[in-house]
């Protein structure tokens, strides 16, 4: 197990290098560059533009620029954000906790809802309750997240006033205080509910379908023939088998914890990584774009690795010896 993990981590390194090359090349290939995002080309002196270009190193050949960047990366220096006029690490560092909070919050909601509904529907298939749950699921799958988000803001924030409509924390609140944390949670609640609710659908269906399939397997018949009560059959025998496919989704979720939900964050003006990525692309803030993309790639790789390891935990048939 340990050797397997180490091997996987080592393989990640060349993959990440390749990803960084691709991302860097894409960022450079974007029309415009960091400088043009800042100044008005019509207004500025072409000589001044050239001089700035030279100074910022934007005229150097690609591999030189890449090498310069890479040298910084291994020292944990991802350059400066042209838009925010801060180190990229600082910018990301500000946003990352928000995204993690939102993701974890919404994942908890998803898991609670999905397990409750999925187990009920799986144990009582083709009943009115099951059809109701499936109906809700299809609705949640069909509604685009921005529509759901806007409706949620309208009802719960404006009409009912239960939650704040936008932002990740109240203004004028001192960081570090209890008030601060409560405000943060309050602001995260609505986007988390929307995000969590919408993603519940696929989990619920996965779980329900697998439970129904497992209930017809031979080992369930054996357990019944031993006089095992129905509750234990569903909650131990079947459930331990049916969570295995859920682990697949769990792996993706690890990656999404970092990646954030771009649309939800944007609609709620929630200061997270997803919103940062979009605005940076729009403003050609290439150093931020590259850093965030690299971070998402690492998160995906790590998520896959974690999912593979968790498979080994839940399914004894594929334990790595």
């Amino acid at each position: 197990m340990l050797l397997y993990t180490l091997r996987r981590i080592l393989i990640m390194i060349p993959i990440m290098v390749m990803i960084s090359i691709v991302v860097f090349a894409l960022a450079l290939a974007m029309p415009g560059d960091a400088l043009s995002g800042q100044i008005n080309p019509a207004d500025s002196d072409p000589e001044y533009i050239e001089e700035m270009r030279e100074q910022l190193g934007l005229n150097d050949p690609i591999h030189v620029q890449y090498g310069r960047w890479m040298a910084g990366v291994v020292q944990w220096d991802f350059g400066r954000s042209f838009v925010h006029r801060m180190d990229v690490t600082e910018v990301i560092g500000e946003r990352l906790p928000n995204t993690i909070l939102l993701s974890v919050f919404s994942l908890i909601i998803t898991y609670i809802l999905a397990f409750t509904m999925g187990r009920f529907a799986g144990r009582h298939p083709y009943t009115p309750g099951d059809y109701a749950i499936q109906g809700i699921n299809y609705l949640m799958l069909a509604i685009p997240s921005f529509v759901a988000a806007i409706f949620a803001i309208f009802f719960f924030a404006f009409q009912l006033g239960w939650f704040p409509a936008t932002g990740s924390v109240g203004s004028g609140v001192t960081p570090g205080t209890m008030e601060y944390w409560i405000s943060k949670l309050h602001h995260t609640a609505l986007p988390a509910l929307v995000l969590g609710g919408l993603t519940t659908a696929s989990y619920t269906q996965f779980l329900r379908n697998d439970i129904i399939e497992s209930s017809q397997k031979d080992y369930v018949r054996t357990a019944r023939a031993k006089g095992t009560p129905e509750g234990e059959i569903y909650n131990k025998h079947i459930l331990r088998n049916s969570i295995i496919p859920i682990v697949t989704l769990f792996g993706f979720d690890i990656a999404s914890i970092i990646g954030g939900a771009v649309i939800i964050e944007t609609v709620f003006s929630y200061r997270g990584i997803g919103e940062l990525l979009i605005s940076s692309i729009n403003s050609r803030d290439s150093s931020v774009v590259v850093a965030v993309t690299l971070m998402l790639s690492v998160a995906t790789l790590v998520g896959n690795l974690v999912a593979d390891l968790v498979y080994g935990v839940v399914d004894p048939r594929i334990r790595v010896e």
């Binding site: 018949r221 054996t222 006089g227 009560p229 048939r317």
Partner: protein, 336 residues
Amino acid sequence: MSNQEALLEIKNLHTGFNIGGKTYHAVKDVSFDVKPKEVVCVVGESGCGKSVMSLSIMNLLPKHNGKIDKGEILYKGRDLAPLNDNEMNKIRGKDISMIFQEPMTALNPVLTIGYQMDEVLINHTKVKKEEIRKKSISLLKQVGISRGEQIVHEYPHQLSGGMRQRVMIAMAIACQPQLLIADEPTTALDVTVQAQILELITKIQDEVGMAVLLITHDLGVVAEMADRVVVMYAGQVVEETDVDRIFYDPQHPYTKALLTSIPRMDEEREVLNTISGIVPSLTKMPEVGCRFVDRCPEAMPECRQIDPQLGQTEKGHSVRCLLYDASHPDKKTEVR
């Protein structure tokens, strides 16, 4: 009228399946007894209803469309057919146990052998936790698995088919049941393993003192194991007698055909005997008359018009065939 000696009495059992709104009987009017410590073999082709019959006894039919329509299943005089799940759970694994045909899929792949073995004891006894594991290990030894202490920590995929079947047997006898139902326990195993498992069943039957209802399509197994034999065809019992007479004095044409279709080493032949035709499918059973009539070499015109009954031709030998007066509803003098 209940036979006081019998452990299990099946009386006029009808088990139906609801297909497309109509009920079709996979088991129709099946009656026979199992006495304590006796081995009764139920023989028949695939599709004759023997598995459905055995599942009916334990009430393990698929809930959404299978049901015992009529008849009684008397275990020590008590009818099991109307019992609900909670009541049946007290009997399953304790008084009556069952082992199945496919050992490869019969165990839960994500739970340890030890857990699945302990489960039977936890379900039915008040034995303490430490004692339970010890008992599981000793049960494994009893079925011929000497590495019990290691096996309890392993998972089913780490065991061979024969070993898994032994584990199944160990789980089945854990609470010393009076009746073991074995539904083709060796069909999915190699021939050599088959012999071992049958030997094991005989040994266990002696040690525990239980009756065995052994379902099989293999007449060799019947010859080896049975005290009495019940022959089923298309959901009905067509002949019932002790093992000697089934081989030396078969009365029903189907039984005779089964016996002649066994290839023999002392015969030289190029073409094997077969029974032409196939078992009628569940939804296409004839409404009236004998169900074997299309494949029967001795069929008579009245076989299509009169339902043959299961009648006793001599003591301890019953048959369902109009060739015998005992089976004819108008000519019979004694009925089972």
